[in-house]
Each structure stands twice: as structure tokens, then as C-alpha cells.
């Protein structure tokens, strides 16, 4: 189920403003890759180019190549809708559909894919909720509104919704920044389990979190405000946090910058 991502020469623009400049990297399958860096360095923008969510912002466009195994996501005739079904995403703020029950939320993606068989949907809902470590907490109230859960539960519900459609890759944009430490721990444990099935890319501002959950870490930076963000280096997480090869990385992770 998991696929490798190969990015080469990627630039992302908002209108005329270049937000991300010339990024090339490889994301290994069945592993967790963390993106760290200061605000405005383009790591979220870059993340959103990986499932073609960047271009839903008016005026936004992308140049370059993103290969998912052997398929260029920005190739001719590639349907962005199909890309997003293969590359799932979890957002910063938990966003379960407010008008749907817990079960309907998890089944939303399946419904979009045309799965109508009730038994198959029920099985997928249970499997996904179990996969998101939420099943035991909600199994008796699947018909209650998803918005009635706590923030941490809502975020796990969103993860369940994302994995229900069995994507190849799961992108997470600061999934814990709106959560308390206990809920954060739950999500981090979950990420550790999910990487056995999925390729996971996570953006985080929390460097301890990057060190805890990721196998590889990419550091992004920008030379000045208004300048495009760049990839400074990507390496094994251990190496980035103990002995990075670029001075800027060391400055950032040790808190000496600016």
C-alpha cells in the first residue's frame, strides 16, 4: 500500500510570489518523514503540493515533478481528484464534518468512491476506527455527531476518515498543534503504528515530536521574510538532531538563530 515519493525541482507559487524554491527529495515508503523549520518557510505549502491541495488556493501553481513510484502527480492527464484519493491528508485543526455522525464521517471518503455496500462500509468504518485507536471510545455511539468528541478524539476521527479510503501516503499538517499533551501522545503512538502500512509525512513545529516520531527529518528555512523557502537538508532523524551537516540546521534545533 505504501509508495515512495520522489520530488525533483519543485517550485510552488501564490500568484507571482514564489513560496517554495527548487526542492528535491525522496520520501521512503513505510516510514515517517518530518518537516521542520520556522514559520513561513514553506513546509506546509510544500506538503500540500504532494497531494495537489496547493492549487485549490486561487492563483496558486506548481512547477516541477512529484513522482509517486513511477507516476508523475503533475503529469498530463493526471486528475488531481484521483491524486487526493491516493494521498490522504490530516489538517492542523480537527475538521470532522459537523453535520455528520461519527460513522458517516469515517464513511465519507468511501461514499465519494462509490462504495454503497452497507456491509463493506461497516467493516471499513470499524477497521479504520480501530486503526486510529478510536474504536473502543466510540463504538457505542457511532450515530452521534462527530463534532461532539473531544479535540484529540476528533483528530483521530479525521485520521480514521483519511485511512478509510486506504491511501498510499498520509500527509499530516501539524496534526497535534491544537491538542493537549495527552491527546498528542495518542496521535504520536498512532503514527508509529500507521507507518507499518503507510508512507507518512508530517509537518511539525515541535522538534521533540519530530525526534520522537520520525525516521527522517527535513529542515526548511528561508533567507529572509518575503524570500522563498528552501530545503536545507534531509537526513536520518538521529543525524539531524545530533550531528547535522549544515550549520543553519544546528542553529535552529539548538535554538540559536536569527
Amino acid at each position: 500500500m505504501a509508495k515512495r515519493i520522489d520530488v525533483s525541482g519543485l517550485n510552488a507559487y501564490y500568484g507571482n510570489f514564489r513560496a517554495v524554491e527548487d526542492i528535491s527529495m525522496t520520501v521512503e515508503p513505510r516510514s515517517v518523514t518530518a518537516f521542520i523549520g520556522p514559520s513561513g518557510c514553506g513546509k506546509s505549502t510544500f506538503l500540500r503540493t504532494l497531494n495537489r491541495m496547493h492549487e485549490v488556493v486561487p492563483g496558486a501553481r506548481v512547477e516541477g515533478k512529484v513522482m509517486l513510484d513511477n507516476e508523475d502527480l503533475y503529469g498530463n492527464g493526471i486528475d488531481p481528484v484521483a491524486v487526493r484519493r491516493t494521498v490522504g491528508m490530516v489538517f492542523q485543526r480537527p475538521n470532522p464534518f459537523p453535520t455528520m455522525s461519527i460513522k458517516e464521517n469515517v464513511a465519507a471518503g468511501l461514499k465519494l468512491n462509490g462504495v454503497r455496500n452497507k456491509k463493506m462500509v461497516d467493516e471499513a468504518v470499524e477497521r479504520s476506527l480501530k486503526g486510529a485507536n478510536l474504536w473502543n471510545e466510540v463504538k457505542d455511539r457511532l450515530d452521534r455527531p462527530g463534532a461532539g468528541l473531544s479535540g484529540g478524539q476528533q483528530q483521530r476521527l479525521c485520521i480514521a476518515r483519511a485511512i478509510a479510503v486506504e491511501p498510499q501516503v498520509l500527509l499530516m499538517d501539524e496534526p497535534c498543534s491544537a491538542l493537549d499533551p495527552i491527546s498528542t501522545l495518542a496521535i504520536e503512538d498512532l503514527i508509529g503504528e500507521l507507518k507499518e502500512q503507510f508512507t507518512i509525512v508530517i509537518v511539525t513545529h515541535n522538534m521533540q515530536q519530530a525526534a520522537r516520531v520520525s525516521d527522517r527529518t527535513a529542515f526548511f528555512n528561508l533567507s529572509a521574510v518575503g524570500q522563498p523557502g528552501r530545503l536545507i537538508e534531509i537526513d536520518a532523524t538521529e543525524k539531524i538532531f545530533s550531528n547535522p551537516s549544515v550549520q543553519a540546521t544546528e542553529d535552529y534545533i539548538s535554538g540559536r538563530f536569527g
Partner: protein, 358 residues
């Protein structure tokens, strides 16, 4: 993980259900713990200094509320007294008589049935036509049109809402009615079997309830569109992105996140439009050739609505005759009240699923 282990145990030992943060029992526990809060805040609030601005504002807002209630009560009392007076002089049955004889000298005999029928039918026709079109236009403006075009369209819609109803009436009578001839003939030919589109006198001037409904639809379109557009624009971006990230097409985004979120808003917008359609007077009076016949042939000329009847009859009526018109106004008031109540019920039924709680 998220179990509230700080919550004090209630009289029952915590069962498995109680470990759920938001179990159905949640509110009961919530009210139990919050009962301690006033005890802490109470004395402070009681003795605290009351600021003059607070007092002024509280007084003026309370005053406005009271004035509103007094005005409403005065209208209700007025309508009821005059209506009771009129109905007690009615020689016919107020609910079933199909005539409206309130002229001086003749025996008073009037009934609301035809008028209420005409009012409801023309408003329903207007809603059936206007609501889907308005939602479509609003969605086009909020989600499909390029920004410049959306702005221009928005202005045009607002402008449509500002056209006085008598102008709509003139346009309806001089332009719409002649052009409805062909439409009616077509409907008669292909849908005559439905009875409601059948014509008993083909080729008659279509000064009918159906034409009124079409005109009302055009009149209420802008208000429904403008309100729906605002609601659609307020759907938080994050819900649309949630649908997009699941691989939803534009239409699927609208279906899974925009429309459900905007549901109660669309109902409210439609109610605003319906209110206008039910109470519209001048445009209806200009287009319709009124008659007190209750006919389900909607494209036949004739029929009458409550508001139109009041406008046409008011000048010729005196005394109890006017009271009869007031009685019909009370019925219109009740119809509007019923419709609004129904809409509120629909909204309240799925309240906990509404986007407002998110």
C-alpha cells in the same frame, strides 16, 4: 486517553459508559460540576460595583424588548377584536363560504377559503421555482464564478431586490402575462393530464395564479440568493478542504460540506422569501384578474390572495366590511406564523448536527 479522570464520581460508580467524554450522560454531570461556580462568583458579583455604562445598556436593551412585545400585543389585540366582530356578523361560514360580499347594504357573507388557497398556492409555486434557482445562483457566485464576475453578479442580485414591487407588478402585467400565453398552451398540451396545468378555457388571458407564482418567484429570488450566498461564503474553509483531501470533486465538496453546513441557513433564507411571497400585494393585484372561484386549474385566469383582496376591497368597504378584511389579515398572519414555526422545527430537529456547534 481523553477520559476525564478529574471529574468527581457521582452517586453511581463509574461504568464503562461514564468513561466517554461526551456520553449522553455528559450534560447531567456538567451541570453538577458547574453548580459550584455561582457559589464562588456569587458574592463578588452581588457586591461588585455596577458601572453606569452597563446599567444604561442593560436598561435600553430591556426597554427595546418591552416596546417590541407591547407593539406585538397591541397588533394582536386589535386584529382579534375586529376579527371577532366581523365573524360574528358573517352570514356565511368564515371557513367555507366561497364569496366575499362586504359592500354596504347587501347581507354580509364572506369566507377565507378561496383567498387562503390562492395565497398558499401562489406562494408554493413561487417557492418551487425560486428556491432551486436561487441556490444554484448563490452556489455559482460563491463557488464557481471567477471573483470579478461573482462581484458583478452579486451587485445585480442586490439591485433586483431593490426594485419596488409595483414595478414588478407593471412588468408582470404588461410583459410577463402576454408571454405566458405560449407557456400555458404548451403546459396544457403536454401536461394537461395533470389537471393543474389543464386549461378550461384555452387562450384566455393568463392572469392566473400560475402567472402570479412565476412573478413572485422572480421577486423572491434575489432575497433567497443574497442570503444563501452569504451562508455559502461562511462555510469554513477547513470543511471544504476536508472534503477535497478525500478526493472530492467540486460538486462533491458542495454536497458533502457546503450544503449540509448551510442547510438551516437555506431554510431561513427561503422563509424570508416565502414571507414576502405570502404578503405580496401590489404585484399580485396588478397581474391577477381576481375572482372568488376555487379552481385547481392553476393556469386559468382568476383566483385571489388575501393581501391582494385587502388592497382591492379596502376602498369600497365600510365598518364591518373593513373588519372582515382585518379578519382575513389575521388569517394571513397565522399562516405566516405556522410556516415559520414549521421551519424552526425542521432546523431544531438536527440542531446538534448543525455547523454552529463546531
Amino acid at each position: 486517553m481523553d477520559t476525564p479522570d478529574t471529574a468527581p464520581p457521582q452517586d453511581v460508580p463509574p461504568s464503562k459508559d461514564d468513561l466517554l467524554v461526551d456520553s449522553p450522560k455528559g450534560p447531567r454531570r456538567g451541570s453538577g460540576t458547574s453548580a459550584t461556580v455561582p457559589a464562588l462568583a456569587g458574592p463578588q458579583r452581588g457586591r461588585g460595583k455596577v458601572r453606569i455604562g452597563d446599567r444604561l445598556f442593560a436598561g435600553s436593551s430591556r426597554g427595546s424588548g418591552i416596546v417590541l412585545l407591547v407593539v406585538m400585543a397591541a397588533i394582536a389585540v386589535f386584529l382579534t377584536i375586529r376579527s371577532v366582530n366581523a365573524i360574528s356578523h358573517d352570514q356565511g361560514n368564515f371557513l367555507t363560504t366561497f364569496e366575499w360580499n362586504t359592500q354596504e347594504g347587501a347581507p354580509l357573507s364572506f369566507g377565507i377559503a378561496v383567498l387562503a388557497f390562492g395565497t398558499v398556492v401562489s406562494a408554493v409555486i413561487a417557492m418551487i421555482i425560486a428556491v432551486p434557482v436561487a441556490i444554484g445562483v448563490a452556489l455559482f457566485i460563491s463557488h464557481y464564478a471567477p471573483r470579478r464576475m461573482a462581484q458583478a453578479l452579486g451587485y445585480v442580485i442586490d439591485l433586483l431586490a431593490a426594485v419596488p414591487s409595483i414595478v414588478y407588478g407593471l412588468w408582470g402585467a404588461l410583459f410577463l402575462v402576454p408571454h405566458m400565453l405560449g407557456v400555458n398552451a404548451w403546459l396544457n398540451q403536454y401536461f394537461g393530464w395533470t389537471y393543474i396545468f389543464g386549461q378550461s378555457q384555452p387562450g384566455a388571458q393568463p392572469r392566473s395564479l400560475f402567472s402570479v407564482g412565476v412573478l413572485l418567484a422572480i421577486m423572491i429570488l434575489p432575497i433567497i440568493t443574497a442570503v444563501s450566498r452569504e451562508i455559502f461564503l461562511q462555510v469554513p474553509r477547513m470543511y471544504e478542504e476536508a472534503a477535497l483531501a478525500l478526493g472530492a470533486t467540486r460538486w462533491e465538496v458542495i454536497r458533502t460540506s457546503v450544503l449540509p453546513f448551510a442547510r438551516s441557513g437555506i431554510i431561513s433564507a427561503s422563509m424570508l422569501g416565502l414571507g414576502r411571497a405570502l404578503g405580496e400585494t401590489m404585484a399580485v393585484a396588478t397581474v391577477l384578474s381576481p375572482s372568488l372561484l376555487l379552481s385547481f386549474h392553476l393556469t386559468d385566469p382568476g383566483g385571489s390572495t388575501i393581501a391582494q383582496n385587502i388592497a382591492t376591497q379596502f376602498g369600497e368597504s365600510q365598518g364591518v366590511g373593513r373588519d372582515a378584511l382585518i379578519a382575513s389579515g389575521l388569517v394571513l398572519f397565522l399562516i405566516t406564523l405556522l410556516v415559520n414555526g414549521g421551519a424552526r422545527l425542521i432546523i431544531a430537529r438536527r440542531k446538534e448536527y448543525s455547523g454552529a456547534n463546531a
